[in-house]
């Protein structure tokens, strides 16, 4: 795998050398930032003449602003964050780019131990609780246009609960979720690991659903940047993809590599959480806090021979269909056109092929989600309109609004 390390000067001297020798890359304190952290700290970019400076960010909104303003060159990003910026939802529109997928799976919906004690431990019990009781439950996600809002909404809707009408929805930054659950300011949350495992390990809550039960091998974090960055620094962008691809492959090469990745992540400069909270679910060993233990076959994955890293057009399009479904987009965008502009397929192909990583011939993939629906990217307009529960905003827009309930 280290062929490139043998001949580093070929890259530095050749015309393919990166235009920049050092770039600033943002990340949030989450297990799924692993491949970026490993790439930056374990010498994966250096052979190409690139230095990756990691910059941990305190909020997704701050990360986005720094990407858009150029203060960060690239970042560990939510799919939803990149596409909301592209479409100008909640802020000015900016042409964005997805360089590659960073991971699939590994998020979860967790409820408080108070609800557990009341017997609300199944989707059916939650459905009854939300429709019968007077006070609404409050669920936290991480950004109104983010992946976790979309997973939470999708899951609730699949259980017959309208996420914008039957419950209240609030935003809480990932590392603060557990604290808010403990203080009973929220009844549940949807977030990336290790924060679900952290709630379970502290006996403050239980995992009701993993994101991979909503969509096995769902798209999650991506390596995002502006389109301007790709156009200005194409070699830097390609070399960055290669370094992160190699780091992703390295993490999955052995159990020992996964274990040491967990140890690395737990450091205070990175995720800053106990290694116990990170390691088990990184290895696919799940405990839900209700006494169930299992080896998860769709646990967080970083590479899987490139399957995870391919910037599938259908993955980007899916997030736009959900923006449409929940009223964040008032009309249908040119789903395929926008995704084709954002997903950097050609650049990814060059990077992957240079590392002998297989690139699928088609950029659409087919998946069956928890509600039985099949998503393959072929009819995004119809798919966005096909849901029983929705907030389609052709007439009147509806957005999760805790204020209006008062």
């Amino acid at each position: 795998m280290n062929d490139t390390l043998n001949t580093p000067l070929a890259w530095v001297n050749g015309s393919d050398a990166p235009e920049l020798n050092s770039i600033d890359v943002g990340f949030m304190a989450l297990t799924d930032s692993a491949s970026l952290i490993v790439a930056a700290t374990q010498g994966f970019a250096q052979p190409y003449g690139l230095n990756i400076n990691l910059q941990r960010q305190p909020s997704w909104a701050g990360l986005r602003d720094k990407l858009v303003s150029g203060e960060l060159h690239a970042a560990h990003s939510l799919y939803g964050l990149v596409y909301a910026a592209q479409l100008g939802i909640g802020g000015p529109a900016k042409d964005m780019a997805v360089l590659m997928g960073l991971n699939q799976n590994g998020q979860s919906i967790n409820l408080s131990s108070t609800l557990q004690n009341q017997g609300v431990i199944t989707p059916e019990a939650l459905d009854r609780r939300t429709h019968q009781s007077g006070t609404k439950l409050t669920f936290a996600q991480t950004l109104p246009t983010g992946n976790h809002a979309m997973w939470l909404y999708y899951w609730l809707a699949s259980q017959g609960v309208h996420p914008l009408e039957d419950v209240d929805s609030v935003v809480v930054p990932p590392p603060q979720m557990v604290e808010h659950l403990k203080a009973q300011r929220i009844d549940g949350f949807c977030v990336g690991e290790p924060w679900g495992a952290s709630a379970v390990n502290q006996h403050l809550g239980f995992t009701l659903a993993t994101s991979q039960t909503i969509w096995p091998d769902h798209p999650e974090k991506v390596l995002g940047c502006t389109l301007e960055f790709v156009q200005q620094y194409p070699n830097t962008a390609r070399v960055l993809i290669m370094a992160v691809l190699e780091a992703s492959r390295f993490i999955e090469e052995s159990l020992d590599n996964r274990r040491s990745t967990a140890q690395m992540l737990s450091g205070c400069e990175y995720v800053n959480a106990p290694v116990e909270d990170i390691e088990a679910r990184l290895l696919g060993e799940y405990s839900d806090g209700l006494g169930n233990h299992w080896q998860d076959h769709h646990a967080v994955s970083f590479h899987r021979k490139g399957e995870v890293n391919m910037p599938w057009l259908s993955d980007g399009m899916w997030f736009m269909t959900q923006f449409r479904r929940w009223g964040l987009l008032r009309e249908d965008p040119d789903y395929l056109g926008v995704a084709s502009q954002v997903q950097q397929l050609a650049l990814y192909r060059r990077a992957a092929e240079a590392l002998d990583i297989k690139v699928p011939a088609t950029a659409l993939r087919s998946s069956q989600l928890i509600d039985g629906k099949v998503w393959d990217g072929s009819d995004p307009v119809g798919y966005a309109r096909s849901f029983k529960l929705h907030a389609l905003a052709d007439a009147e827009p509806v957005v999760a609004d805790p204020v209006a309930d008062e």
């Binding site: 003449g49 802020g91 957005v399």
Partner: protein, 191 residues
Amino acid sequence: MLRILLINDTPKKVGRLKAALIEAGFEVIDESGLIIDLPERVQAVRPDVILIDTESPGRDVMEQVVLVTRDLPRPIVMFTDEHDPGVMRQAIKSGVSAYIVEGIHAQRLQPILDVAMARFESDQDLRAQLHARDQQLAERKRIETAKGLLMKMKNCNEEEAYTLMRRQAMSRQQKLIQVAEQIIAMSELLG
């Protein structure tokens, strides 16, 4: 006169900023409660301008405020390049983000941001670069050297040597270069 909501949820000192804004004649409401309650507080206080630390985790909660108010008579929007590119860049540099009620002229915000930029304690350490650029080539050579030493010591191939070094580095939360230096130092000692 513009009413300002000053969000106080990071260790930076906003006390002086509040006093300076009041001195400059603004009505300032200092919000130091729970950031999760921000949507309700904004509704109750009805500010014209909201100032928040760019590095605050509460920025994500402000995103919710923006989306919740977008169909109300007084939508709150992020103050951006489109309003005034010069002022926006200054604000980002000073570490303060501004949200305004749509329709307020950028010029009316200028004196507020002038005060904020002068008074807000921007933590430059947070922005410090983690590496010096010219170290890069030297580091690469040190790593190569350590890899060579390890291959000899362990009688292994190149890929195995890299894996051993990386695993060691990661389980101690160190960078590859740190382990490389340790290997070189140990080799010199035993040399």
